[in-house]
Symmetry: C2
Subunit: 492 residues, 2 copies
């Protein structure tokens, strides 16, 4: 906290990197591309996990755990998936180290401990899970299988950024199996809705629900549903995906069932996931040049109380006032911290909690003691007010709700003002460079046009919004006919 | 559930393996030595996690997450640890697969994607965490660091058994850093107490608290505290360990701090962990020849309700009675399931829940409807009784507490009757083969004697109990003087 943050205006990317480290969310580790998620960052992730887990269970899912390693042959069994992922990944080839005879104190890979078949550290678990489902499913009575896994996965990314793109990351992956096509589609849609609800109600991050184009689709999926968010620099971020897999994985891993009518068929599948990437989205949606701004529903500390005192006696008096307030707040389910460290000044503490995005700061000094008040400061609006101690707990709880709403509204207004309908390609290119955001434009439906636009502008089709209206028009690039607008953007 | 379980008498080991699979706790995967933890097993693990996590947080710890991979050189930095673990482990040597040009549809390791430095899949995280702590600690103000991680780890075990010994397993590992020796010792002792409390109050599994001998100590620890449990076959199981690391890891990774007096010193460390091995301990402590027996405090389903009906009308009447009961039970915090599947008979369901160890089974049929009663069956004692529906929810809740206590008492009595004081080596050998259990005997304190006894009998010193009385005696093997008894046993 020695230096001010780089501002978003100066260098958005640098601002993000600095903020993540200075706010104690995460840092790079001694292992290439892998991050350390620090206690404060992990506490936010735990809150995300708890809410998502509750939502998954309420929609009938159970958690389970599958192996970290995937034998190479399992990837080969599912060619499309291997195409998509298996190439850049961590490969285990040996199972032993030994002392290096030529270099005392050093270790070497034991050449006699080579694995017969290489093991891939899972980049995603479809292969291992579907090869397990084969043994779990015989009859329609065994369906649906509604399973989720919280796990770490590894993809050998060349350019990494904390939370947004790391070699190892944490995520949840749901993998379900169904007797009918329509049930599987309903499941993938339902989980997209769960993600959207979580993003909007907990992260206070508005999202657009849509489906991916074929070229942006998950390898092995028939349809990829997604939620897309917009960051403050005008770039989009894919915040969650839910895939309808058709019978692709069932065919690859021979997962068949006997229907109630005695007919054999392959089962229908879905998979869906969100990851620690959401942490990056959270930071970039709300934070400002002073530091993190956290929505109360995910803040590990919702209210921090800082004493301002000259004498020991004052501190004692303050302490007894604070004790009452904390008890009342906790009764209301508010998480509160009293920072009575004497090694740091109030000013230092104010800066620290501003940087860490604590939604409400309450200060109490000798004058407040006299007047029976507290000073309440909001992180989101920087407004300060003196509040009588009578009924203050309920008042603070109300303020937290207001902050939660305010953050959503602010992000929503920003997003709405950054969706622009564009009808010609020069304007398209120009807008991308100046304002950014989502560009709503007609597209001729071909991967070729999508590819050319991407090469020329770095913008990709983020999604075909589910609520896109039927509207005849001409492709913004090729001029060919189109019947609905899609959303383009540069993206994380 | 087609066949009866092998009985414990017939083949204890086979009974265990069958039970874990048939009760849907876990199964072997297609990956050597790695297990799949199935939803029912994982639900028990989640309950364990939730309680432990709560206890860790109540004692001031925060969760964080560190990388899965440990560069080889980090292991070299801590020689003792490398000696202990790093040899049998999964080694990542490459970061890419490619299509095999000679075998269409097959993949091969890309020889051009060899890592400069091999990465070890963590067998434990001291190395990666202490190399991180180096940057987190400068002053005494940064201490203590009280951090826990929930993670998967990999040790390349040759002979594996579900939960008890698997190549990959799930665990938590606490890693703390302190300014003083005494504070670190107090921390390691505190966490051993937390583990003991969890084992006894939640798993209903009595444990003996003690310290390990030097040869059984964790590599790099100055003292290893442990909790030891006794399984129904008379073999001991180490259920958790807490290590006082002295300054060993701080020295290896150069983690120094400036004290309040301005002096530089290495910090003092601890680490402590329990794993999915506890699932094996849970199964082997309470279960019987009919299947799993779960302590109510960890049972995913505490009460199952099964309807017995001939007609649709009866099922409807039963349903409305059950609805009330379920609402009342849930109000009392009891987890309850109503199994009204019409595809299975009541007898089939009774067997299923017996196998899965649900503590209380409630059945309701036409006679019960007439009499205003339910039939209540306890899993632990197989007792059945007819209970009036008035006040039954509170009664069931009380029964759950009684079952929890009964399971602990039963296990405690078994354990107490299997601690035998032995003063000569023939009796020692004889007892190990006939009765098993813990043998309380004098030991001369030398690793040599410990080793010989192990070779001759396969028994190891499980621990030097913390409450061992001062008592002069002669070593059971060498006859040399000893001042306290230690506990020997064959162990998992």
């Amino acid at each position: 906290m020695s230096k001010q943050l780089t501002t978003r205006q100066e260098d958005y990317s640098k601002w993000y990197n600095e903020l993540v480290v200075k706010a104690d969310l995460a840092e790079n580790s001694g292992v290439r591309g892998c991050m350390v998620i620090k206690p404060y960052g992990y506490a936010i992730w735990e809150k995300m996990q708890a809410e998502l887990d509750r939502m998954f269970k309420e929609t009938g899912h159970s958690n389970a755990y599958f192996p970290l390693f995937v034998p190479k042959s399992m990837f080969e069994a599912e060619e499309k998936n291997a195409e998509g992922f298996a190439k850049e990944c961590a490969v285990v080839t040996h199972y032993r180290l030994k002392n290096d005879p030529d270099r005392p104190g050093k270790l070497m890979v034991d050449p006699n401990a080579k694995l017969e078949e290489e093991l891939i550290v899972r980049p995603t678990s479809e292969a291992i899970i579907w090869s397990t489902y084969k043994n779990w499913v015989q009859s329609y009575r065994d369906l649906p299988l509604l399973i989720n896994q919280w796990a770490n996965v590894v993809r050998w990314e060349m350019r990494t950024r904390l939370f947004l793109r790391t070699a190892e990351f944490l995520w949840q992956e749901g993998h379900t199996a169904h007797a009918t096509r329509s049930e599987a589609i309903a499941e993938s849609e339902k989980m997209m809705e769960v993600y959207a609800e979580f993003a909007e109600n907990f992260m206070a991050m508005p999202v657009i629900k849509g489906v991916k184009t074929e070229s942006e689709r998950f390898a092995g999926a028939v349809e990829t549903y997604c939620i897309e968010a917009l960051m403050q620099d005008g770039k989009a971020l894919q915040a969650g995906t839910s895939h309808f897999l058709g019978q692709n994985f069932a065919e690859a891993f021979d997962v068949k069932f006997t229907s109630a009518e005695g007919k054999q068929d392959y089962v229908w599948g879905t998979s869906w996931g969100v990851s620690t990437r959401l942490m990056g989205a959270l930071v970039m949606t709300h934070s400002d040049d002073k530091g993190l701004v956290l929505p109360p529903n995910l803040a590990p500390i919702q209210v921090v109380i800082v004493p301002i005192h000259r004498t020991e006696e004052q501190l004692e008096q303050i302490g007894s006032e604070v004790k009452n307030l904390m008890a009342e707040l906790r009764k209301l389910g508010v998480s509160v911290k009293y920072d009575d460290r004497t090694t740091q000044s109030p000013g230092f503490k104010f800066n620290e909690y501003e940087l860490k995005g604590v939604p409400l700061r309450v200060a109490i000094g000798p004058k407040d003691l006299e007047n029976g008040t507290f000073e309440v400061a909001r992180r989101d609006t920087f407004t300060k007010e003196s509040v009588s101690k009578e009924g203050i707990a309920a008042y603070l709880k109300g303020l937290l709700d207001e902050i939660q709403k305010n953050l959503f509204t602010k992000a929503f207004d920003y997003r709405e003002s950054h969706i622009t309908e564009v009808n010609n390609f020069d304007e398209f290119k120009d807008l991308l460079e100046t304002k950014g955001g989502f560009i709503s434009a007609h597209w001729d439906g071909t991967p070729e046009t999508e590819e050319v636009i991407k090469e020329l502008t770095k913008a990709t089709i983020r999604c075909i919004p589910l609520d896109a209206k039927e509207e005849s028009g001409a492709c913004v690039y090729s001029g060919k006919p189109s019947n609905k607008r899609v959303l383009f953007a540069k993206a994380y």
